[in-house]
């Protein structure tokens, strides 16, 4: 874990050039050209130049000299952040390639400013063995758009009956640290306890999809005023909150790390706040869509708004924003859940649950939190890069913008405003609930290990 955020304004241009030259000499033929990000604002603070050489941040300072052959990016007025890390992505491969592939999903991630994603386990076959997680990681490596960290299933086949071979996945080449049956809740309390205990030996974490299955049989949307009116079966807040309450107590009892996926209700925020006050080692995430949309969006029966957990009320949206602002909620994670058109072009109760989110995540966080004065850009770096990497125990990602750090960098221009258009997305799927909304910001540059993956919003083809 990196705790220092000091940008080295005192680094001299000469030192930087020397570092660049030596790094350049050391770099092989495959090494990317040095990149100088000129005049951007690291963490949204004072303007500094950032020099990337041979896959690392070589220098940060004012008026840095560009070594010969350097690609200079004018970042005047732009925010410079560590590359974003998503702890909750559905890449759908293997088995769901009609909706997304590792290739298309990681391109989408890069367009969203991400340099790492954690690929959820609910694929076909399920990522519950070392073989599947290694395959997913390999696909990510060869696609090369961002780092792909597979999430392992907690239980065999996500069936909630017996533990998968968690240790084998942890010790595989994929080095899995996050385990989740996401899409399904590990609802058996004994199994959840055992999972929490088991992952302690390799510093893993259980990421729980908190949903009591009995309280949500046939559930279609948040249970409240709107569900009553629309005659859709309700998904009560208590079905999420009761599982979170149980799990934080279990985590306390066995002294384990718990991560709560896509927390969505005001009550859940209260429970996490209470647990943290008691010193329980719990982290929590909120999705961009739960920061903006509400159950009122369901009124047109457009299944693009169908998601699990469901869109909640305006009060819940306020509560998760408050929780994210005060640190109760640790991170924003997309729960990017692509679906083919046919899975959404249906009656509400027959449509699939989930929304795409990678390509709109930072815009949503800017819109709902930064532009509202609730988060600084330094906070954004914390909730979308540093903390998610820490929870996933990824020491290569989410590092401070400082000399020596890996060159995973995002240059975000917060000024442009554009109409969200899913047809322009790199994701294979179009189920974005933000279609037609005016969203702020443009991904000017995303750099993965020194190599640009995105420029001016478009992926850089190799």
């Amino acid at each position: 874990m990196t705790t220092e955020h000091a940008t080295t304004a005192d680094t001299t241009a000469a030192e930087a050039t020397a570092a660049a030259a030596s790094a350049g000499a050391a770099g092989g033929a495959g090494s990317p050209a040095p990149l100088l990000i000129r005049g951007g604002r690291p963490y949204g603070e004072d303007a500094q130049d950032v020099l990337l050489v041979a896959g690392r941040i070589a220098a940060i300072g004012t008026d840095l000299d560009a070594p010969e052959g350097t690609d200079v990016i004018d970042a005047d007025g732009c925010i410079v952040l560590p590359g974003l890390v998503d702890l909750h992505t559905h890449l759908r491969e293997p088995g769901g390639e009609e909706a997304e592939t590792v290739e298309s999903g990681t391109r989408a991630a890069a367009r969203g400013g991400f340099t790492a994603v954690h690929a959820m386990a609910n694929t076909t076959p399920v990522a519950d063995t070392a073989g599947v997680v290694e395959q997913v990681a390999r696909r990510g490596d060869s696609a090369g758009w961002c780092s792909v960290r597979p999430v392992g299933a907690v239980t065999v086949g996500l069936a909630g009956e017996r533990l998968a071979e968690l240790d084998a996945m942890a010790n595989s080449r994929a080095k899995v640290r996050v385990f989740s049956d996401d899409g399904k809740c590990v609802h058996d309390p004994v199994l959840m306890r055992r999972a929490l205990e088991y992952v302690k030996s390799f510093d893993g974490v259980i990421a729980q999809h908190a949903q009591d299955p009995r309280l949500t049989e046939g559930a279609q949307m948040h249970e409240g005023v709107v569900s009553a009116e629309l005659g859709l079966a309700g998904w009560p807040a208590v079905a999420e909150e009761s599982i979170i309450a149980r799990d934080v107590l279990l985590a306390q009892h066995v002294g384990s790390r718990l991560h709560v996926c896509h927390l969505s209700t005001a009550g859940s925020v209260d429970i996490i706040r209470w647990a943290k006050q008691r010193g329980i080692e719990v982290t929590a995430e909120v999705t961009p869509h739960h920061l903006l949309l509400t159950d009122e969006n369901v009124r047109q029966f457009d299944a693009v708004f169908k998601v699990n957990p469901p869109l909640r009320t305006a009060e819940d949206v306020q509560a998760v924003r408050d929780g994210l602002a005060d640190g109760t909620i640790d991170i924003v994670a997309t729960d990017h859940a692509p679906h083919p058109r046919d899975a959404k072009d249906r009656e509400w109760d027959q449509a699939a649950m989930g929304m795409t989110g990678l390509e709109t995540a930072l815009a949503l966080v800017q819109l709902t939190m930064v532009d509202e004065g609730r988060l600084s850009w330094r906070d954004v770096a914390r909730v979308m890069s540093e903390k998610p990497a820490q929870i996933g125990r990824d020491e290569d990602q989410g590092q401070a913008l400082a000399p020596g750090s890996p060159a995973h960098v995002l240059v975000w221009d917060p000024r442009p405003v554009r109409i969200a258009d899913p047809d322009q997305h790199a994701s294979l799927s179009r189920n974005s609930p933000f279609a037609g909304l005016e969203l702020p910001g443009l991904n000017r540059l995303t750099v993965l290990a020194g190599r640009p993956t995105v420029r001016d919003g478009e992926v850089v083809e190799r």
Partner: protein, 320 residues
């Protein structure tokens, strides 16, 4: 009116206009030749994803009495039972040249989706969507009530009337449409059900909610509408301990019916579970208008088809 999807889309004037047209239709139906030429040459498709003999026949009779051609497209023995999607069905109907589609579905919002997804351009009539709405049922209920409670005044609303609706509110599209329509027309509505069968969030509805049938009946309502207990929708189960207990607490028994004022109507949208939510003797008693509701259904559906399809729908229907 382009579609007839939900009561929430209607203004008070529009609702009264449909009821007025239904009165005209009713008058034409007492003649020796009941068939009107109004919709000659148009084709109405009854698209029924859910079994419903009663509603389908009612729509079919209504369309035929207006001289429309009717095509019935039901789940059993058709492509619908082979998993054809609503979208593909809609595209097919569009290609075949249907002039209007009457749709019944177990999915809340199906009619809305059909009307607004861009798959089909024709008028859509909601014949019941999941637990959402059943707007023509509410229209026929209001029509029936008005005839009895405001006799001789075919332009009246239901101001001052008190209607008690009893039973499985949670799963009832009939209750939702009736709450909206009856209150739109000025009536006061009380819903009576065991708490588990009242939707969480129903407190926002423009009606009162009671768990005590005897108390509600003691107010001397103008109409009591009993709902069918929809056991097939009871996902998760356990809404009430036994049928016997439900019937004792919420059934309209002969003894309970005897406490009602003489003018109080007893209604039921059908099909009834005799002996469960309503005693057979009450269903067959003089205050019961259950059979009349069926007749009203045809008039109201003729009126809805007329408003959506007739080229001269802006004028009163002509006598031919």
């Amino acid at each position: 009116m382009k579609h007839f999807i939900t009561i929430a889309d209607l203004s008070r004037d529009e609702a009264l206009e449909v009821l007025a047209t239904a009165e005209h239709m009713a008058q034409t139906q007492s003649r020796s030749i009941r068939k009107l030429p109004t919709l000659v040459g148009t084709t109405v498709v009854n698209l029924f994803f859910e079994d419903s003999t009663r509603t389908r026949i009612s729509f079919e009779a209504a369309a035929k009495r207006l001289s429309a051609d009717v095509i019935n497209f039901s789940a059993k023995g058709s492509s619908l039972s082979k998993g054809e999607s609503l979208k593909d069905t809609a595209l097919t109907l569009q290609a075949m040249g249907a002039d209007a589609v009457v749709v019944r579905s177990g999915s809340s919002g199906a009619a809305h989706l059909l009307a607004h997804a861009g798959w089909i351009e024709q008028p859509i009539i909601n014949a019941g969507d999941g637990a959402h709405e059943h707007p023509t049922q509410a229209m026929l209920d209001a029509f029936t009530m008005r005839r009895h409670l405001r006799p001789g005044d075919p332009t009246a609303d239901l101001a001052g009337m008190h209607v008690v609706i009893v039973g499985d509110i949670l799963h009832s599209r009939v209750a939702r449409s009736n709450v909206l329509l009856l209150t739109l027309l000025g009536a006061r509505v009380t819903l009576v059900a065991p708490p588990a069968l009242v939707p969480v969030g129903a407190s926002a509805w423009p009606c009162e909610i009671s768990y005590d049938l005897d108390q509600a009946l003691a107010t001397g309502p103008d109409a009591v509408m009993m709902l069918r207990v929809q056991s097939e929708r009871m996902v998760g189960g356990g809404f009430f301990p036994t049928v016997g207990e439900y019937s004792r607490r919420y059934g309209l028994s002969t003894a309970r019916a005897a406490t009602l004022p003489e003018h109080t109507l007893v209604m039921h949208p059908g099909p009834m579970n005799r002996g469960l939510e309503i005693a057979g003797a009450v269903a067959d008693s003089p205050r019961s208008v259950i059979v009349e509701q069926v007749a009203s259904g045809v008039f109201v559906r003729m009126a809805v088809l007329f408003h959506l399809l007739a080229t001269d729908a802006r004028e009163a229907p002509r006598d031919h």
